[in-house]
Symmetry: C2
Subunit: 356 residues, 2 copies
Amino acid sequence: MDSGVKKPGVTSSRVAEHAGVSQSAVSRTFTPGASISPKTRQKVLASAKELGYRPNAIARSLITSRSRIIAVVMAYLENLFYPDVLEELGRALAAENYHLLLFTGFMDRDSDPVFDQLMQYRVDGIILASTSLSSELSEECAAAGIPVVLFNRTTERDAVSSVTTRNREGGKRIADFLVAGGHTSFGYIAGLENSSTNRDRYEGYVEGLAANGYTNLVVETGNYSRKEAEAAARVMLSRPDRPEAIFVANDHMAVAVMDVARYELGLNIPEELSIVGFDDVGPARWTSYGITTMSQPLKRMVESTVDILMDQIASGEIEAEHRILSGELIVRTSARLPQSGIVERDGQRIYRPREA
Amino acid sequence: MDSGVKKPGVTSSRVAEHAGVSQSAVSRTFTPGASISPKTRQKVLASAKELGYRPNAIARSLITSRSRIIAVVMAYLENLFYPDVLEELGRALAAENYHLLLFTGFMDRDSDPVFDQLMQYRVDGIILASTSLSSELSEECAAAGIPVVLFNRTTERDAVSSVTTRNREGGKRIADFLVAGGHTSFGYIAGLENSSTNRDRYEGYVEGLAANGYTNLVVETGNYSRKEAEAAARVMLSRPDRPEAIFVANDHMAVAVMDVARYELGLNIPEELSIVGFDDVGPARWTSYGITTMSQPLKRMVESTVDILMDQIASGEIEAEHRILSGELIVRTSARLPQSGIVERDGQRIYRPREA
DNA sequence: CTGAAAGCGCTTACAG
DNA sequence: CTGAAAGCGCTTACAG
């Protein structure tokens, strides 16, 4: 394969020689909090600068058993929610002086294929977004002292932490909102069937509808994919008893559903059809869509994720922690409005039936 | 900071002991092509499996001087073009058994702040997407034997390779297309002024218009940002002499421009205003937008990028290589059609005046 | 094919 | 505060 030549690169020993000090002194200069006199430090810094020295993080990792690398496994980047998450994660990890090793692919199955790779790099922690891990591997991480956090998914498994929003309550609130909007027939376009987010949103929605006396729910599956959501919308909207209101399990699919409804079936939104989504992702805010949607507080979700990781890395205690944050039902133009319950917060219209 | 405890983890020596062979034998078992008898290999593999051994990539990197890590510096993930690139890069690098260390942020300035970090990890190569590097740092990479590839940008600098499409020709073709479509007044909504892509697209557009006898170009700047593109569109479209056709420097901005045109100014597209974009990114294909746009062959761009990197890593020769690929003008519904020149290829309509 | 040994570039007790 | 030394977990000549 690669028979390439590598340039040597300057080492701490070379710097030590140049500065007339020991190699230990050079190391201490670059170790925050290490015991070193200002004078020695200055000499070392000067030599380091002159020679263009940079500590070798690989060598440091080897001896400290800390790579300062967090593996992020993420698929499904076509859903803008995840690029946003990634960008925020990059920022948050950089602030903690950690680095982000990215593994893409593998949305619908467990992330086992990449697992071997990431373990070889002795990552200090693992973030799984829109994907999960088999239980054996989760156990292995716990045994190896490597914290794992599921982002926007959750699990019963002992060793794995998670950060989510109140998906169930979200589904329920959407049901309340649609019922208050005067709709009497309902549809659901589902995400991946084995994902906890889809399950929770669905269950909350069903529960909310039932509490209002509605059990006539029509369901099709979009598997969180644009293409499949389009197909699901075609089927659902071609029914003679087409529902008046549809909750689409995320905004990424809701955009597709709206396009199909408007341009293939000529439906006016929201006059003839109400659409509600989930996530509050970029396109939901674009005027063409204006999707009424349950928001997920992305920044706080990322903060929590990094928090959990840093805690467990510092303590060495791997025990599952589940953080559940709250979003809001952001009201825009894709669904008919209820008579009351809409309040304004920070320039956004949100649905809060209790407060109004 | 972190006083955490790390579990020991099983090493090649432990496996050697367990299998009753030397540590070298264990190492050879996990080094493709190394000299090892099938019998020894089997013993080692059995022990490794039993103990849950995985070679330590960090230790390997230290001794081979190859981290098998490629740094990717990428900002501007809100433009779906880049998440798509990232996903494809992940795949392509994984196929070569390389890993992807991601640095986000820093769209509009050079990526110097992250440079130190990435050099400390002794990455084997650097990919810069939607960002660039100062010339001193480029030189430093070359001196250290680390190849650098600019993705979707180019530069005159000696040491840095690049992968782009024919932006200039793209701008020119768009001009021809709009003139052929019968427009007589033209606008340009610019990207970042210091980016080579923006400069080349602009110059090609101006040149193409001039060749057709038009010099009355109106220009506003969107800096590749959605917000600024909206503002630019408002200004341009409120002019009494509003142009009939606008080339927006990328699709990400074109979407914003279309929303402003339709919903704030009530313009019909393409009857009253033609819009052409660049990239052929996801939303360009959504029915709500249907943007006529110059495509960029993302997969081939990624392949070329990884190609250049692998070549230079293998040879140890860092010399700038510039690959320039071709896209097509994909014709959709956001711009008025010329009488002729539109052909069908692979189910897509493209503009190729020569062939028609 | 195999093992003993050197060494990659660091950190960190240890002794002074 | 400082230096000599051990050692992190590997790869790879070297000699057999």
